[in-house]
Amino acid sequence: MNKKTVSAKSEKVELEVLNPRGKIEAVPASSPSPRLTALDGKTIGLYSNSKPGMDNFYTVFEELLKKKYPTVKVKSMRGAFLIRDDDVRTLAKEADAFVYGVGD
């Protein structure tokens, strides 16, 4: 059991107190996927949690994307804050890269 001591100027008394924090299990760390070399000809998934305003953001984003990469395709998807498993599968099948914005 490790113990830490915090002292004020004078040390006549000692109050021993316990740690109230919950232990968090270590989660094995994994790394993100390798990036694409270029976006040309690729399908980009644009995911939003349907919160207001994200649609406007993506409208402009898609326009800029297609201007810069005319061969790019866009797959827009609106769903839950935390993407549902069936949406994950769809996006994984159809998109080569994705932007995930939750408008929060």
Binding site: K3, S31, L65, A80
Partner: protein
């Protein structure tokens, strides 16, 4: 964040776009989800929230971040990103004990309080030092093993053990005889189907109702009379505060960091914690209506909306009242509110489950003892009053607009309407029929609390919460060693409605 990590794990390179207010939240969520180096790009909340209203106003913002977003998809991962450092074990980098030294105990108490608050282990009000002796004293209230794990608490999935809960209960100022109640409430919150995330972290400053029913309430001195939601009642106040501190410390939340409640909650240190007024109620306790034995002692935990939380149905000295009049007001209020939400029944939901975070609601209605007595004279018990209100909170099919009809239809297809309720709505969706605006009579939760005089009011919340399956749970109190009630194990009733 979990969604982004899910997609990354399927091999698609992506980027998580987040407002800067939530940057800390996102960083810590990335680590929690096992991908600390997931690519994130920030936009200014101040600009985004203001400009997102239409395409024209948001254009400069999107232009500003465009390259950063596309680069995040194409610029190769750095060696650090590709080989993220293993996250440290959450609790293990922290000492198990801390010694605070000072010239006197009075000063040590101040030093301890400031230290714990600086670590974000406190709630802003004075804490009782959780010394080993105090912990032992607190644990004397339960026969359960200190190392028993009840589950985990969001957002960081900290492990809730009896011991950690007891440490937080000491800090809250609770007494050992309250501990079994606190444990039962934490069991509900840590239950794997319960949506603790929304109430603990959502921007909407949602809140909790903690209602104790059955004989233990009186044995531990809970207040159910005049002022029952207010100050001055050690049992009510410190049981609620033990839940505040346990969730904060075991789930590792902090306001503005990963608890994003914009205004902060009302009664933030204690939630709304009270007991049913068993002495004056003519009915069996609430939990009996949920399948428990009347003489069981239980805790019911229910998230509630944060704003406008008290819908008054009058009563008591506030005006003259009749039970019929109060009942009419309850029905009117539910009709008005529920009709507004009807078009939302058929939504996919904001979370994983169809209909989550929208659509039909749970209503937690607090009745005062005199009113319950009158209802009883009129022949009602909880069950028949639920049925009566349910029946009256319905509208003629012919008055529904097409969107509302479609919404109910979709809700049946998506399973938002549970299988056993389907025949009801199939029969209702016909010319001449009445369509209920509540999913089931069991979505009306009737508690008897308050003194003489009293007043009736209600809270509400989604029947299906945003991030999990359950938004209201009643748990049996077990393992009590200092009270007659709650001592023996009974049977917990699985969540039904």
């Amino acid at each position: 964040m979990a969604g982004t990590v899910k997609l990354e794990k399927l091999g698609i390179p992506g980027v998580f776009m987040v407002c800067n207010t939530f940057a800390d939240d996102a960083r810590s969520a990335a680590a929690d989800n096992g991908m600390p180096t997931v690519r994130r790009r920030e936009i200014s909340s101040a600009e985004f929230y203001k400009l997102r209203g239409d395409v024209k106003t948001i254009r400069p913002l999107v232009e500003g971040i465009f390259d950063a977003l596309t680069n995040a998809l194409t610029s190769p991962l750095t060696p650090e990103e590709a080989k993220p450092v293993q996250d440290k074990k959450g609790g293990d980098d922290l000492p198990a004990e801390i010694a605070v030294k000072a010239e006197s105990y009075r000063v040590a108490l101040e030093e301890f309080n400031q230290l714990y608050l600086d670590k974000r282990w406190g709630d802003g009000l004075p804490l009782i030092p959780p010394t080993p002796d105090a912990l032992k004293w607190m644990l004397s209230g339960t026969s359960r093993n200190p190392y028993e794990v009840l589950g985990t608490i969001n957002p960081k999935h900290g492990i809730a053990t009896i011991e950690k809960i007891a440490i937080n209960a000491v800090m809250a100022g609770a007494k050992p005889q309250y501990l079994p109640v606190i444990i039962a409430a934490m069991e509900a919150l840590a239950d794997e189907t319960f949506d603790d995330l929304h109430i603990l972290a959502s921007a909407g400053s949602f809140n909790l109702l903690l209602v104790v029913s059955g004989p233990i309430a009186e044995e531990i001195g809970m207040e159910a009379g005049i002022g029952f939601m207010g100050h001055g009642w050690r049992a009510n106040n410190t049981i609620g505060r033990a839940i505040r501190l346990s969730t904060l410390n075991i789930g590792h939340t902090w306001p503005g960091i990963n608890d994003m409640a914009l205004t902060g909650r009302l009664s933030p240190h204690t939630f709304y914690t009270f007991s049913e007024n068993t002495e004056l109620s003519p009915w069996k306790p609430y939990h009996a209506s949920r399948g428990f034995r009347a003489d069981d002692s239980c805790v019911t935990v229910a998230p509630i909306h944060g704003e406008s939380q008290l819908q008054h149905f009058y009563g008591g000295m506030i005006g003259t009242w009749t039970a019929q009049g109060v009942l009419d007001r309850i029905v009117e209020d539910l009709l008005r509110g529920s009709r507004r939400g009807l078009f939302m029944w058929g939504t996919k939901g904001v979370g994983k489950y169809p209909g989550s975070g929208g659509g039909s609601m749970n209503h937690m209605i607090i009745l005062f003892p005199e009113l319950a007595l009158e209802f009883k004279k009129m022949g009602y018990d909880q069950k028949s009053l639920q049925d009566e209100i349910y029946k009256r909170v319905s509208v003629p099919y012919d008055e529904l607009n097409p969107a509302e009809k479609k919404s109910i239809q979709t809700a049946m297809e998506l399973g938002v309407v549970p299988a056993e309720r389907k025949p009801v709505f199939q029969a209702a969706l016909k010319p001449g029929a009445m369509v209920p605006l509540l999913m089931s009579p069991e979505n009306l939760h009737l508690f008897v609390a308050g003194g003489v005089p009293g007043c009736a009011f209600s809270f509400n919340y989604y029947r299906i919460p945003p991030y999990n399956q359950t938004a209201l749970m009643t748990r049996l109190i077990t393992g009590a060693t200092l009270t007659k009630a709650g001592a023996t194990g009974g049977k917990n009733v699985p969540y039904g409605a």
